[in-house]
Symmetry: C2
Subunit: 383 residues, 2 copies
């Protein structure tokens, strides 16, 4: 096992009716910037619950944070935060709203050009406190330090993370997800699944607990994912999926083990160039990346096949193949495409655009930190 | 799934060489009370590493915290803390030292009779900050709010917990455990195992992720426990066991599910009356408690048998029996007795003494909160 530090101070308040606890969780007598997305919270009752719980606090609203939240949009909020001296940010929505709000929190106190936080890894030394009400299980943003932000003018999608950006609390009420469109639930299941794979499908590292904890999440997604997609108001199924999404990216399963994130690296570019949903890109890249990297990942893939899909009596390479086929079939069972052609995108075009960008950045990535534009092109041609 | 709040702000610094990080973790320019146990840390090099990392901080030492830490001992430390105005407590040792130090932290700021914290659940509203260097994986005390304290004069062993008692950090260096006597490693494995069972072997609650996370820890203990007992200096095995012990009682596997703790309730009294090691009492009580409560626990026990020991093709009741037999055999494989007679204690005497105490306290316990002195007597007669 590798040395590691595990630290996660976010308070998670889970269950039906828990939005009412905002009154105790949000500091009293401070102005609050309430951030949200396209307005669905005003249709499903979440907005009313939040406003009721906040009582007579001074609340400034900033709606319209889009999927793949845009730097241009978020900088408008930063301006408001500075002008109105908001002391607390309350994000109500899914991972995009949370990610965007983390960036507002960091940029609101950043001296200098905030884009540097993303483009130059400029250090974040402070952030406005953030809390969240999560309405879409997927990104794990509710219990980690990370955020991914897009910039339209340059077709870039970049990530940052800072311990100052841990939410102080996140409220997870599964009933707020009952009205989600099936496509978003599907995306959330796939996103969660790929988060686990990024931390699991690496070279082996003799960390059986982390392995088994990752397999636990994958098993739950396989068992509960298709069910909750078909039965959106089944409370326990939705709760189990919601909790699995948080556990997938809160640092537990990555403690002391290698991580990959090559699928995300390539997927982010696919969103930046073609506008595909984040999860859609992951479902395309993951199977082909695993096939391409099979010689280096087959021990873990074979273990997954044996433990999760009861694949038996096969040699390692064949069991690994079976795991990849099962993963792709699982995505299909959720009505999730796994090929660029299904979006009318030419793999050769993607290989060129994304490969050129990695070449320009001289990117190195993957669990061995040795994949380059060359491998990205090879993988993308198979997508 | 039940509603829950999960909050665990302890920073865990894991791996070989990590004691050196104390210099960044312990506040500078504050007087530190360094607490420890019987002095093994002065023989295995841990003390020297700690002192070197603390540099020129003012350090007051308080050694001699015994297994099942005693109120009488700890109150001596409370007196020192108050006199010397220690601002930070650094516990170096196993669960007893950590538990004792948490009590010192709470009692040091408590107005009134500190025994009330244990005997009357008096509220702890503040505590001196605590950090720890863990040298014995077992109790999970390094990442939770709990402490169990004994009082010799009254033969009592009582627990308390307060969010103010979360360690600010815990350092877990597996190499510090290489020199542990095999009996203590055995005890730590059994203690960890029973912690998981207290949170798992209950009535079912449709929480498959928590179930699988608990099964993950049990599988690791079964696989790594006997190996690390025989190979004390195998780093990865010791690291895997150490991390499993922390994960067993940090609140993750109990989130949103029923809990039992009847084995601990009865076991604590066994230690109080007869002086058995904590883990020794658990190994005696658990199998008989599971047999007694089988009708209400058999669904989870059968699940465990099927998933962990590959028991197949059996009806639920028989699979549950198999699980209990496997558990008892696992304890035996660690050279851990499972009967009172092996300690020359008469079960009838234990049933009378412990049953009388529960009757006097009108105790109700277990995952249905309906076990009483009657069931305790029945279980103990089988021990």
């Amino acid at each position: 096992m590798n040395n590691f530090t595990y630290f996660n101070p976010t308070r998670l308040v889970f269950g039906k009716g828990s939005i009412a606890q905002l009154n105790e969780l949000v500091p009293a007598e401070q102005s609050v910037l309430l951030t949200y997305g396209g307005g669905s919270i005003k249709k499903n009752g979440v907005y009313e619950q939040v406003k009721a719980a906040l009582g007579d606090r001074e609340v400034i609203e900033f709606g319209g944070i889009e999927a793949n939240p845009r730097y241009e949009t978020l900088m408008q909020a930063v301006k408001i935060v500075r002008e109105k001296q908001a002391r607390f940010l309350l994000a109500v929505g899914g991972g995009s709203v949370l990610d965007g709000t983390k960036f507002i929190a960091a940029a609101g106190r950043f001296e200098g050009e905030p884009w540097d936080i993303l483009s130059k890894n400029a250090e974040v030394t402070s952030a406005i406190p953030v809390g969240s009400v999560l309405t879409l299980p997927a990104t794990g943003s509710e219990a980690n330090t990370f955020a991914v932000i897009s910039r339209n003018s340059t077709q870039e999608k970049l990530a940052f993370g800072s311990p100052h950006c841990f939410p102080k609390f996140s409220i997870l009420d599964p009933t707020t997800t009952f009205s989600l469109p099936p496509k978003q639930v599907r995306n959330g299941i796939v996103d969660t699944f790929v988060h686990v794979m990024e931390q699991y499908a690496t070279f082996p590292s003799d960390a059986p607990l982390q392995d088994a904890q990752a397999e636990a999440i994958i098993s739950v997604l396989i068992e509960q994912g298709p069910f909750t997609l078909k039965n959106p108001t089944d409370y326990n199924a939705r709760a189990n999926f919601m909790w699995a999404a948080t556990q997938a990216l809160n640092g537990v399963i990555s403690a002391g083990v290698p991580q990959d994130w090559a699928t995300h690296m390539i997927g982010h570019e696919m969103t930046a160039f073609y506008g595909l949903d984040h999860a859609e890109t992951l479902a395309i890249v993951l199977p082909q990346l695993l096939r391409h990297q099979k010689p280096r990942k087959q021990l873990k893939l074979a273990q997954l096949a044996r433990r999760v899909w009861d694949v038996s009596d096969l040699e390692t390479a064949k069991a690994a193949d079976a795991a990849i086929d099962h993963i792709e079939a699982f995505f299909h069972s959720l009505n999730m495409p796994t090929r660029l052609a299904e979006y009318k995108i030419d793999p050769a075009d993607a290989a060129k655009k994304i490969g050129d960008r990695f070449a320009q950045r001289n990117s190195k990535f993957g669990d061995h930190a040795d994949l380059t534009e060359k491998e990205a092109r090879e993988i993308l041609l198979k997508c």
